[in-house]
């Protein structure tokens, strides 16, 4: 059956919370802030399917996750999209699993293009992939998601300069602007200031959207596509909330890298509708 984006996102958030609870570790907070945007990207925006996916991305849109710690949302979406069996989500972070703590190509998990975890590297990789598409005459788009805390890494700004310098306009980068990092609020730890002006000053076309409203997500992705191919890379600043979807996890850094207890997980499940069937534990 066809599921609505809201139904898929609800199931993905259930998966995230259940995965980190079962693994007794992992990063639910940022996974839940990025859920809606990535659900739209995987189910509506990109022309990639489990059947046509290939690591080199030839003839396809391509997605790179730079903030590798939010692997739970990536794994859940890949499974729910059909890249691998949903029940494999139960192996997350276990010995021998293809679902490593941070995404890896080491065990050939379909849908993963590149290892990520050490922050700040994925934007450069996506930029290289976008340049490659241009060299090949491949008209498709490269997408990449970075975190707002991750934007404290210097390499992000090296890549920002290079992308504008080379006029890489088939690249759509996105920031999951949830205002939280491990040690607290981003503005308290190492403030980013006026992020929009920073990206604009670096030569990017900057769009903003509500990362938890599918109507707005659709609007912004459409605008991003219409404003790409105009000589500048595009940055979408998604306004999001860490831990979105579960009241006691929302809006705090507490759940950046911490798993709920079994009781807390049960409480969270009451707030997230099971729509596509939970994976077996």
């Amino acid at each position: 059956m066809e599921y609505t984006l809201e139904q898929i996102a609800s199931q993905v958030r259930r998966d995230i919370v259940r995965m980190v609870t079962a693994a007794a570790s992992g990063h639910p907070g940022g996974s839940m802030s990025a859920t809606d945007v990535l659900t739209y990207l995987f189910f509506k925006e990109m022309n990639v399917t489990p059947e046509n996916w290939r690591r080199d991305g030839e003839g396809l849109d391509q997605f790179f996750l730079s903030a590798g710690h939010i692997s739970p949302v990536l794994y859940s979406l890949l499974a729910r999209r059909g890249y691998f069996p949903v029940d494999e989500l139960a192996t997350f972070r276990r010995y021998g699993s293809r679902l490593q703590g941070h995404p890896s190509v080491d065990k050939n998990l379909p849908g993963v293009n590149q290892a990520a975890g050490s922050l700040g590297q994925g934007l450069s990789v996506a930029l290289g992939a976008a340049v490659a598409k241009r060299m090949k005459g491949d008209p498709h788009t490269v997408y990449v998601l970075i975190g707002d805390g991750e934007s404290e890494e210097g390499q992000i700004w090296e890549a920002a300069m290079a992308a504008a310098h080379y006029k890489v306009d088939n690249l759509i980068a996105m920031t999951d602007w949830n205002h939280q990092q491990i040690d607290g609020r981003v503005e308290d730890v190492a403030g980013l200031g006026d992020l929009r002006s920073k990206w604009e000053a670096f030569g990017w076309t900057v769009l903003e959207g509500d990362g938890h409203d599918f109507t707005d997500i659709e609007r912004v992705f459409k605008e991003a596509r219409s404003r790409s191919r105009l000589g500048s890379p595009v940055m979408i600043l998604w306004h999001t909330e860490m831990g979105h979807g579960v009241d006691f996890m929302a809006g705090t850094c507490k759940w950046h890298g911490k798993n709920p207890s079994v009781e807390q997980c049960a409480e969270a499940m009451k707030q997230l509708e099971e729509t596509m069937g939970d994976f077996a534990l």
């Binding site: 050490s118 450069s124 490659a132 300069m161």
Partner: protein
């Protein structure tokens, strides 16, 4: 002993530039990148002939490594070139995650390696790079000894499927290996057969080891001389066979003892056939400004020191 003819001093980095230019013409997948050191890396010929496949990314090495990984994922074969210090220590984590762990087919072309970088001094003289690179799972480490061998190693690096660290240097050094000898990754090059002492040399130290061997032979010492142009994967069979034969091993390299070829060989021999060893390398210190030859002598990296080591057992 064979005759080794210096056909004229040439820098090994020009060997890389020549190899890269050949690749540019023969392989449309080869892409070259540099971080504001096009001239120093001798990439001008490639850049002029293939501007569409050349990227000077500016002084931003971390981004260069990442971009190269992205290009490699898409099927290109990127060669990224900068000074060896900035190609390794500065971007070790990028190489570790975006290249080696991600199994991307990136070639790291590292010039001005070692103390022979000379006058710029210790900030630029990396003596740790072999250790840093050979620790990374899946990385191939090549350290050719002259212009011809560096040119051939560049071609071999492109043909190899996987990450390669290609180390070469700044100053002109004797060019003596055969011009058209193919480079075989993983194969030690047996220069001289001997029975009294083994000398394993790599990079700029190979020519010094040849001079040392000539002198040692004149003194009646029979030298088993091996050029280790591939530091990783090490030709363990050749190393063990030579050590078994001579029972004495000297390793000569333009690097710190820590992490270098000597330690790598020591680990192999300690397990297979424990052998007394001497290390012609730098022990736990930074370099300083000076002329390359002057520094090599001052830091104990020349033929005289190899002879001394070979006679010290």
């Amino acid at each position: 002993m064979k005759e080794y003819i210096d056909t004229g001093k040439k820098d090994t980095r020009s060997g890389f530039g020549a190899g890269l230019a050949l690749l540019g013409d023969s392989n449309p997948k080869v892409v070259a990148m540099t971080a504001d050191l096009k001239g120093s890396l001798k990439m001008d010929a490639f850049a002029a002939a293939h501007p569409d496949r050349f990227f000077d990314v500016g002084i931003a090495e971390a981004n260069m490594v990442g971009m190269a990984a992205g290009l490699a994922i898409a099927g290109y074969i990127p060669f990224i070139g900068t000074f060896a210090n900035f190609a390794t220590a500065r971007v070790l984590d990028q190489i570790r995650q975006s290249v080696c762990y991600s199994r991307t087919n990136v070639k790291i072309a590292a010039s001005h390696a070692g103390i022979t970088l000379g006058e710029d001094g210790a900030t630029h003289q990396t003596l740790e790079d072999i250790g840093l690179m050979r620790q990374l799972p899946g990385m191939v480490v090549l350290n050719p000894c002259d212009y011809n061998q560096t040119r051939a190693a560049t071609l071999a690096a492109a043909a190899w499927n996987g990450p390669v660290y290609l180390r070469f240097g700044r100053p002109g050094v004797p060019n003596f290996t055969p011009a058209d000898e193919p480079f075989e990754i993983g194969k030690a090059i047996h220069l001289e057969e001997g029975s009294d002492v083994s000398i394993f040399a790599t990079g700029h130290l190979v020519w010094e080891a040849i001079q040392a061997t000539r002198e040692l032979e004149a003194r009646g010492v029979s030298v088993d001389l091996i050029d280790i142009a591939t530091i990783k994967p090490l030709d363990k069979e050749a190393v063990i066979a030579s050590a078994r034969k001579t029972g004495k091993v000297v390793v000569a390299e333009e690097h710190l003892i820590a992490g270098g070829l000597g330690e790598e060989i020591a680990a192999v021999l300690a397990a297979a056939c424990p052998t007394p060893m001497r290390f012609v390398a730098i022990d736990d210190q930074f370099g300083q400004s000076g002329k390359p030859a002057e520094l090599m002598a001052a830091y104990g990296l020349d033929a005289a020191h190899i002879i001394e080591a070979a006679l010290s057992f």
